[in-house]
């Protein structure tokens, strides 16, 4: 499903990561500054590796030796950022529809309804992002990413900007997403408890290196 073997120098910091996984939810675990976000940005194509390759779902999206670098917008990935990044000039419904429109996909009312029900955002559709709470914003961001019909969903600390109460509010949605949405995910977090609930496999990062790889048990 996902194969990563990359090197990247970012100022003083050097990132060297290699792993491959067929897991449904790959948990990228590590302290802040361990290179998690840089790694996810490379999978998304927002950052270009100095050396190495990335294969998503059998398609090579990066291969420095072969000179391959598929631009972000052609990777068919979904990305949920820590800070939601909803488009402020569009309402919730337009935000949700953005990916489908950009990819020229036909409307799919069934899928649309399923995602909206899954995330409980039906009541928010007419609102502007500025009028949403942090938790609501993050749920809309999840829906927006899902509705672009990605083959891989990247989540970079999607609960990181929320307080404990809000986290507990969103977590069940993420579990449902994992069990029902049928999209493989890379889930970045520094919170072991969060990953124990969600991930099926763990990639542990420390100072830019993969220190271990395996089942969720290693977080115990």
């Amino acid at each position: 499903m996902l194969r990563v073997d990359v090197e990247k120098q970012l100022g003083e910091f050097s990132l060297q990561a290699s792993f491959s996984s067929e897991g449904r939810v790959i948990g990228l675990f590590g302290a802040s500054g361990s290179g998690k976000t840089s790694l996810v940005n490379m999978i998304a194509g927002l950052l270009r590796p100095d050396r190495g390759s990335i294969v998503i779902d059998g398609e090579t999206v990066d291969d420095t030796a072969a000179g391959i670098h598929v631009p972000t917008w052609r990777r068919r990935i979904g990305y949920v950022f820590q800070d939601a990044r909803l488009f402020p000039h569009l309402n919730v419904a337009q935000n949700l529809d953005y990916g489908r429109r950009m990819n020229g996909l036909a409307p799919d009312p069934v899928q649309h309804k399923r995602v909206i029900d899954l995330l409980d955002i039906g009541a928010l559709l007419d609102r502007r992002p500025g009028k949403l709470s942090g938790g609501e914003r993050q749920r809309v961001a999840l829906g927006r990413a899902l509705l672009s019909r990605p083959r891989l969903l990247l989540l970079d600390e999607p609960l990181g900007a929320l307080d404990e109460g809000r986290k507990l509010e969103i977590l069940p949605y993420l579990v449902r997403l994992r069990d029902e949405a049928n999209v493989p995910m890379v889930y970045v977090s520094h919170d072991a408890a969060e990953l124990r609930q969600l991930a099926t496999q763990i990639v542990m990062l420390k100072q830019g290196r993969v220190t271990s790889f395996g089942g969720v048990k290693m977080l115990a």
Partner: protein
């Protein structure tokens, strides 16, 4: 008492036409340049930036004279355009529009550039992860978010264009009905005996137009802030 004569109407309508055309033609170039200056680093960027601002600091008569040399009948560009495309600038209202466009360009570009610089680039990244090609990102995220700044630039450019005098009169002279704008009409009137009343009326029209434009620009700027905060 405040009766505007047909001759004054001619000058007012010509001014409006010249300023509107100048603004509309300058806008796409302004947006492109604003984007380039806000987003790209390239060799000679500061020189280009200075060049765009030149009409702001040069004596207008110099800009007008340079336009005459370049776009006049015998000018390098003007001769070519006249011979091959039939476009003539000298002593025509189109020349007045060109002069106004050049003179107002720095004012038109500035708010556009600032509004593009103020856009959170992470929103454009988000658009890209959702499958939007770079040109789609520009038209669906960058431009809509910059729109209040774009409109503010157009309003300011328009206000400058409608008041332009020095470069216009140097380049295309002061021909009633063809190149005599409000400014050059006022200039002629105050040199004519008994022209004071007519000049006064045109002065009032100028003030109203300029004030209206400034208020509109301010309103657009406030909209821009609201928009970027997602309200």
């Amino acid at each position: 008492m405040f009766e505007i004569s047909p001759a004054e109407w001619t000058a007012i309508l010509l001014s409006l036409r010249v300023a509107i055309i100048a603004t509309l033609v300058a806008t796409p170039f302004g947006i492109a340049l604003a984007w380039l200056l806000a987003r790209r680093d390239f060799w000679g960027k500061s020189v280009l930036d200075a060049f765009v601002h030149l009409p702001l600091v040069l004596p207008p008569v110099v800009t007008g004279y340079l336009l005459l040399l370049t776009f006049g009948r015998k000018g390098l560009v003007g001769g070519f355009l006249a011979d091959h495309l039939g476009i003539v600038f000298s002593f025509r209202w189109t020349g007045a529009a060109l002069a106004c466009g050049v003179m107002s360009f720095p004012l038109l570009v500035r708010p556009m550039r600032l509004s593009i610089e103020a856009i959170d680039r992470r929103l454009e990244q988000a658009a890209e992860t959702l499958g939007a090609a770079p040109w789609k990102v520009f038209f669906t995220v960058t431009l809509p978010l910059a729109l209040p700044g774009v409109l503010a630039g157009m309003v300011l450019g328009f206000a400058k264009a409608i008041g332009e005098f020095g470069a216009t009169i140097t380049f295309v002279s002061n021909i009633p009905g063809e190149t005599q704008t409000i400014s050059s009409a006022i200039y002629s009137l105050i040199q004519t005996p008994d022209g004071d009343a007519a000049a006064g009326r045109l002065v009032i029209v100028s003030i109203v137009l300029a004030l209206g434009a400034l208020i509109a620009a301010e309103w657009f700027a406030r909209r821009a802030t609201a928009r970027l905060h997602g309200n």
